[in-house]
Symmetry: D2
Subunit: 455 residues, 4 copies
C-alpha cells in the first residue's frame, strides 16, 4: 500500500498519493509532477486517477501535466466552472484503488464546488479524509473568494460541510488538508503537520462556536489576496503550458544581463545582508526561501525575469517560480555579483543596522526625524506587539500605500527577522526612496534586546 504526502515547501501546499495493487490516485498534484510518477513506479503502480479538491487559486495544479504523462483521468471539483479538460466530480462518486475505496464528499464553502475525499481502508472503515481547503489544522478555508457580498452565504455552506459532512466521520479519522502553516489560503493555519477530525473538533478555534451564526460572523471576513491568484484561477481552468515546452533558463553574462534588465525585472534571491551590501540597480529582493510566498505579490507575469543568486544551481528557483506560473524566467547572472562588479558594473546598496545601532541613533538627535516602518501583518503585530510610534503597512500592501512613506526622513524598516524588511526596502528603492535602513533581526531582535514593546 502506498500513502504519501508531497509537500511543496514555501507554498505550504500538500498533495497526496494513495495506491494499492497496481493503481494509484493523486490528489491535488503540483505542476512539477515527476515526484508522483516515481513514487508509483517504485511500488509497481500506474497513476490512474487524479482528483482535485477545488479549483486552486494559489498554485498551478499539475493535473493536466500529470495526465499527459500517465494517461490518468482527471476529476475536477467546482465542476460548474468551464474547464478545458477533464471531468467533473459529483458528491458520492467512488473510486476503487486496489482494496481501498475513495468517496467524494461535497464540502462547499471555500469555493462553491469544493470536494473532500474519504479514503476507506481495506475493510471499508473510514480512515483518512482529504479535506482540500475546507478544513485545515487549526483553521478553515477562507470564504471571501466570491466577494464579500457572498461571504456569509459561503460561510453558511462551510458550516454545513464541516459539521454535517466531515466531523460525523468520527474523531479518529485522519484529516489531510491541502495546505499547512504559512499558506495564503487561510488566516492562520497551525504548525501541526498531521491532524485528525477529533483534534480539530476540540481545538480548531474556528470550530469553537455556539452555532451557525457565531460561525458565520467569525468566518465572513476579508483576507488579503495576492494578485497572482487570478492568474492561477485562469490557468487552472484553461490548463497551463506543459513544462517541457518552456525554454531553459540561461546563464547570462554581465553585459547581456544589463541589457536584458532594461525590459525585464531583476529578482535577487540572496539574503538581506548580501542584497543590502550591493545589488543590481533596480532589483527586487526576495530571499530564496521567501519566493513561494512573496513572488506572487510583486512579480509581473508579462515581463522576463532575470535572477541574481549565489549559486550555480538554477533548479530550485526555477521550480518555485514555475509552480506559480512564472514561465518567463530568462536566466541568471553568470558568476553572480562578483562577476557583475568585476565587469565594472555599478551597484546599489541599502543600509542595514542592528537594534543596538538603531537605539544609539534614536538616542541622538535623529529621534524626532526617524520614521519607523513596520511591514508585518496584523496577526504578528497582535502576537508579538509593536514599537511605539511605528507605522504599520503590511508588506503586501506596500505597493499601493507607498506614498505614505516619507521621502525626506530617515526610514527604519522592521519585520520579524529582517528578511521581509529588505524586500520592502527593495520595493521602496525601486520607487525612488533613498534614505532607508533595514533593521537586522527585526522585532525579534528588538524584543531580545528588551526594548519596549506595546501589545
Amino acid at each position: 500500500m502506498l500513502f504519501e504526502r508531497v509537500e511543496s515547501e514555501g507554498l505550504a501546499h500538500y498533495s497526496y498519493i494513495v495506491g494499492d495493487g497496481n493503481e494509484a490516485v493523486v490528489i491535488d498534484p503540483r505542476r512539477d509532477c515527476e515526484v508522483y510518477r516515481r513514487m508509483a513506479e517504485r511500488e509497481g503502480m500506474g497513476i490512474a486517477t487524479i482528483l482535485e479538491t477545488h479549483r486552486n487559486e494559489d498554485y498551478i495544479i499539475g493535473s493536466l501535466e500529470l495526465a499527459a504523462r500517465t494517461g490518468a483521468e482527471v476529476f475536477h471539483a467546482d465542476g460548474h466552472l468551464d474547464y478545458r479538460y477533464g471531468d467533473a466530480v459529483e458528491d458520492g462518486m467512488r473510486w476503487k484503488v486496489g482494496r481501498l475505496e475513495i468517496e467524494a464528499i461535497s464540502t462547499p464553502g471555500h469555493t462553491l464546488g469544493s470536494m473532500s475525499y474519504l479514503l476507506r481502508d481495506a475493510r471499508g472503515d473510514p480512515w483518512i479524509v482529504f479535506t482540500g481547503d475546507a478544513l485545515f489544522a487549526g483553521d478553515l478555508g477562507r470564504v471571501d473568494f466570491m466577494g464579500m457580498d457572498r461571504a456569509e452565504e459561503m460561510a453558511g455552506l462551510l458550516y454545513e460541510s464541516i459539521f454535517d459532512r466531515l466531523l460525523p466521520l468520527g474523531d479518529g479519522v485522519i484529516a489531510c488538508p491541502a495546505h499547512g502553516a504559512g499558506s495564503a489560503c487561510a488566516a492562520s493555519i497551525a504548525d501541526r503537520k498531521w491532524t485528525t477530525l477529533g483534534i480539530e473538533r476540540k481545538r480548531n478555534p474556528k470550530l469553537q462556536v455556539g452555532g451557525v451564526e457565531e460561525f458565520v460572523e467569525k468566518m465572513a471576513v476579508e483576507l488579503e489576496m495576492p494578485p497572482y491568484f487570478r492568474e492561477m484561477e485562469r490557468l487552472n481552468l484553461a490548463g497551463a503550458p506543459h513544462l517541457a515546452t518552456l525554454p531553459d533558463p540561461a546563464t547570462i553574462s554581465p553585459e547581456e544581463f544589463e541589457e536584458s534588465a532594461e525590459d525585464g525585472l531583476v529578482l535577487d534571491t540572496r539574503t538581506e545582508l548580501a542584497f543590502g551590501a550591493a545589488h543590481v540597480p533596480g532589483a527586487l529582493n526576495i530571499w530564496l526561501a521567501g519566493v513561494p510566498s512573496f513572488a506572487g505579490w510583486f512579480l509581473p507575469y508579462d515581463r522576463d525575469i532575470l535572477l541574481v543568486d549565489e549559486t550555480s544551481d538554477l533548479s530550485i528557483a526555477t521550480r518555485r517560480l514555475r509552480r506559480i506560473g512564472y514561465d518567463r524566467l530568462a536566466g541568471h547572472l553568470a558568476g553572480g555579483m562578483v562577476a557583475w562588479h568585476m565587469a565594472g558594473k555599478k551597484s546599489d546598496s541599502i543600509a542595514t543596522a542592528t537594534v543596538p545601532d538603531l537605539c544609539a541613533r534614536l538616542d541622538s538627535e535623529e529621534k524626532e526625524n526617524a520614521w519607523i516602518l513596520d511591514v508585518r501583518g496584523d496577526d504578528e503585530v497582535k502576537r508579538s506587539g509593536r514599537i511605539t510610534g511605528a507605522h504599520q503597512i503590511h508588506i503586501t500592501k506596500l505597493p499601493e500605500r507607498i506614498r505614505e512613506v516619507p521621502r525626506n526622513r530617515p526610514v527604519y524598516i522592521f519585520c520579524g527577522s529582517g528578511l521581509r524588511s529588505m524586500v520592502a526596502a527593495s520595493i521602496l528603492r525601486r520607487e525612488g526612496l533613498e534614505e532607508m535602513t533595514v533593521i537586522l533581526g527585526g522585532l525579534a531582535a528588538w524584543s531580545s534586546a528588551k526594548c519596549p514593546v506595546v501589545k
Copy 2:
C-alpha cells in the same frame, strides 16, 4: 517544527524525530543513524535527547551510535535492566522541545518497562503518542517474551496500559507505533501506515473485548521468535560496536570467494529464478527485499558472510544486515555469477516449475509420489486456503523439522509467491535433499489458475 517518521523497510521498523526551535528528540533510532542528523541539521536543530520505548528485540537500537555523534542524552525504558550506558526513564518524566513537550507514560505489557511518549503541541494539547510496541495499527505487542508462564500477567499489564493510559488520551490523538505491517513483534499488524487512538479503539481486533479476561485470553498466546532476537537483546543492553569500526565489505574474486566460502556462509540475495538457475554450491538464498525478515532466522553470527548479488552496489545489503547485527559481512563476489562461471567454477541449481507445469505432472503418474511442501504461516493458510494433501511447515520451522521432508520423493514447494519457497529449497539443499521443485507464483498462481483450494 520538525516531525518525521523514518521507516526501515523490511524490518517494518518506525522511528521518529520531533523538533522545535534549536532542539530535536529522536525516538527509537536505528543503527544507521545518519538520517536523523541530516534531518535535524537541515532545520538548524541539534539532537539533544534520544528516547527508547523499550529494550528492542528485533533490531539494533541506534542510541549509542547517535549519542556518540551528537552528544545527545539517552533514556532507556525497561530501566530495570542492566544497561551499560544512558539513563532510565520514569513515568511522568517530561522533556521540553522548543514550544512542544514530551511526557513519558508507563505502558508495560510487551515488556516489563515499556514506555509510551505523549507529544503535546505548542498549546499543551495532546497531539501524538509514540506507543512503541504496546499498540500497533490493528494489533498489540506480543506478551510472550517473558515466557509463556508470565504471559497472562503481562497481558494484564498491557490491558491497563491500553485502556487506562493510552485510550483516555482521546480518539483524535495520532498513534505512532514502533512497527508497521510485516514486523515480527506482533501477530498481524494492519497495513495502515498512519492511525489514531480512535481508529484503534473502534477497529483494532484485540481491543474488541468484553473485559480483561477476554483480553488476556486473546493475547496470552505464544508466537514465533526468530533466534536472532536474543542477540539483539544482548547488544541493546551492552551497546553494539560503532559502525565506523567495522571493516568495509570487499569485492572478492571468484578464486578467493571459493576459498573463503569454506569457512563462511554464502548468502545469495538474487531472485528465486536466478538462484534456481545457478548458484554457488551450498549457498543460502534470501532475495534482497527478504533479507530484513529472514536473515535473522537463518544466518549465524559467528561466521563470515559472503554475498552473491546482481549489482555492483553493496550498500543496501550491508545496511540491512548491520541493522540486525551481522557485522561479519566479508564482501561480495566480484562480477557475480557470470564471473563465477567464466572462472570455470561449478554451480548448483534448483528446479522451478509453473503451476500449469505442475498440474501436467500431477496428472501423470507422478501424482502418487509427489510430496507438496507448503512453507507459509498459519495466518496465510487460514486467509488464502491450502492445497489438499500439502504438508505445511512454516519456513521458520524448517531447520528443526527438516526430517519430515522425504528424501526419496519429488518435493514440490509452495509459498505465497515463490520467493520463500526458494529460500526453503536452499535450506533443504544445504541439508542434502536433491529432488525438489519450487513452484513459481506459489499459491497465488495456484489460485489464479483456479486450482482447488481448501479453506
Copy 3:
C-alpha cells in the same frame, strides 16, 4: 576552464564539452543532453556552439535537442547532406571560446565530410584534437559506409586526413575520438580511454604501413553494420523528436502486459540465468548492460516495446533505448516475473548448463548428436580460439542464418560469457527452436576448465 568527456556507456560514445569565460562548446552531444547544460551552468557558462564531427550512424545526435534548450548554434560536418536544421562547417572555420580557440580540420574518409576540431590553448598552442570517427585509440574509422565499391577511395581520403592533417599537429597533442572500445564504428578500438597523436602514430596497428597502398588494402574491408544505422542516419538529418514530446513509459499489470504483448515486442533485460529460468513466452532477451550494443540489431522501430526487468526503475533502460531512437517504449511489467507468475500466467524457459555438465553429457551417448553453436565474432574466435566442431554464426548474423541451426538435434550455445548466448537462444526460441542449452561462462569457462581450444 571547462573540459570534460561525457561517456555513454554501452554505445562507447564519447562527447565533449569545452568552455572558458562565459561560453561553452559541445562536440557531438548525445540526445539526453541535460548533462552538458548542468556542467556549463555549474561553471557559469552558456552553451553557445554545437559542433558535429560527422553525420553519425550509431546514435541519435543531440544537437537539435540541445539547441532547442539553449539557443546554441549547430554546425554540421558532412555539410553536403540535406540537413533540416543548422549550418555546415567548412575547413578552417574558427570559434573563439574565451581564451581558447577551436579550428575545423577537414578529415574525410569515414564519411565524405568528416571534420576534426583542433583546440588551441590560451597561448594558441595545439592542445587537443577531437577526431570524431577518423582516428580512434588503436584503430581508424571504417570506410565501408559508402559501399564497398567506394571503400578504396574513402580509404585514400582517410590516409591523407591522418597523415597530412592530423599527425603533423605533433606527437604531444591529445587525441579525443568519438568512440571508445566496444563501438560498432570500427573493427577493434583499443581499451585505452585517453590517447595522443604520438601513441597512435607509433602503436595504432592501422598506421603501421609502408604507404598509401598498404593502408588502403588494410582499411578497405567490409564490416558488419547493424540495421538500426540507417534509421540513425535518417533521424540525424531530419532531426529526432524532442524527448519531452514522448509519453512516459508506464507500469503495466500482468493482464494488460499480456494483451499488449500480442502486437508489441517483449524485451527482457534480466540476466541470462533469470531469463533462462522463466520468461514471458516470445520474449527477446538482452541483458541490461548489453542493450546499447544489441538492441539496434534485433529491435524493430515500428512496434511497441514492452520491458521485463528486475527493478522498479525504468530510467536506465529508457535512456539507453532512446539514445538509439527506440521511442515506442510502452512500459514495463509491474512487479516483474514474480507478479507474472502470481497472476497465473505461463512462462517459457531455456536450459542452461555449466561446462562440467556439458562435458559429462558429451562424454555420454549425446556426443554424436550434439550441435555446438558459437555466436562470437571472428575477432574473438581468432583471439581466444574455438572448440573443435563448433559452428560459428556471429550473433548479429543469426536472424538471417537461422536455418543453419538444426531443429532436431540438441544445440549447445557458446559465447564469451553466456550472456550473448542467451540473447541468441531467445532469438532461436522465437523462431520455434526447442532443444537448446546455453553454456554458462561460455568459452571463458571452457578455457578455465582446460578443455581443448583450437587457435
Copy 4:
C-alpha cells in the same frame, strides 16, 4: 579497465585510480577516500595497492585511511623518512594490475625521494606517467622545501629527473601530475587539465633552458609556504586520525555559539558582500570556495573552529577543512546570521565600495589621505598591472606585515575580485583596524572601468 582522475577542488589536488581485472591501484589518495572504493566496487575491483609520489605537504594523504578500509598495501616515496606505517618504494619496482603494469621511476628534486609511476598498457607500451609534484602542466615542483641552501642541489636533481627519466619516455606519453592550476606546490601551474610529455617538453616555460645551469638558476627560488604545510608533513609521516573517530560538527544555537566563540575561532564562509554587511565580531572571513587555499594560512590547529555559513549543509566545509587536518570543527551557527540578529546579538560590519564610488571619493578631498592596500601576489601584479601609489602586501604576508597598514587613514583594499580583500579586511579588523573599505570587483573592476593601471 578503470582509469579516473579524482580532483579535490580548491586544493587543485589530483589523485588517480587505475584498475584492470579484479584489482585497482590508487595514486596519492585524499583523506576522504570513499570515492575510490565506490569507483572500484562499481567495476568489481578491490583496491590492492596505494602508491604515493612523495611525502605530501599540502594535504593529508589518505593512504592510511584507505588501507584501513580495504586492506590495501601502502607504498611511500621519500622512503628515507620515518613513516609509522607502510613500505618504501624503490626505483624500478613493478606492480601488475590485470593486464597493465606500473613501474616506479625515481624523480627526486621536489623532495629527496619523489617517485613517478609509469603505467604501461596491455601491450607493455608506455601510456601514462604519474609525475606527482615533479612535473606539472606548465610548471615544475618547487625545490625550496629543503631550505634555500639546498635549493640548487635539489634543482640539479630535478633537472636529471625531468630530462633523463621522464622526457625520454616519449612525447606521446600522457603526463598526470598531482596538482592542477591553483596549487601552492608550484609557482604557476597552467590551466590545462590534461597534458603530455610532448606538450610540456615544447611549451613548459621551465623546460625551455639551454642547460642545467640555466635550469637551476630558474628553479632555485624561494616561494611562499603556508604555515599548515609543516602540520601536513608531520601527519603524513605519523598517520592522521581516522575520520570515523572524529565527532560530528554540531548545529549550535546563538547563545552557545557566542560562548564557544570566546575560546574558539569563528570562520565565516559567506561571500564578501554578506560578511561585509554583518558578521559575528571577531570572525575571520574566507568565502567557501576559498577555504582550501586560504584556511591553511590563517587557521590555527589548536583551537575549536566555529562556522558561520548560509546553508544548512555542513558537509562541504567539513570535508574541505578535514582534508587539511582541521579536525576541531565544532559546528556551525544554527539559523545563520538571521538567527544571530534575532537573538539580539551584536554584529560587526566592514564597508564596501564599487570602483565608481571609490573614484568619486578619491576625486574629493580624501585623495591625500587614502591608503590603497593591494593584497594580490607578485605574479598577478605583473600580469594585470597595479594602481599608482598602491601598497602591495600579499594577503599571505598580511599577518606578519600588519603594522605597515596605517590606523589613522582610510584604507582601501584591492585584490582581483574583492573576495580576498574581505579576507584581508577581516584579518585587519581582528587586529583592531577600524577604517577600511573593500573595493568590490577589485582590480578587474578597476580595469573594466578603464582606470589607469601601471604595468
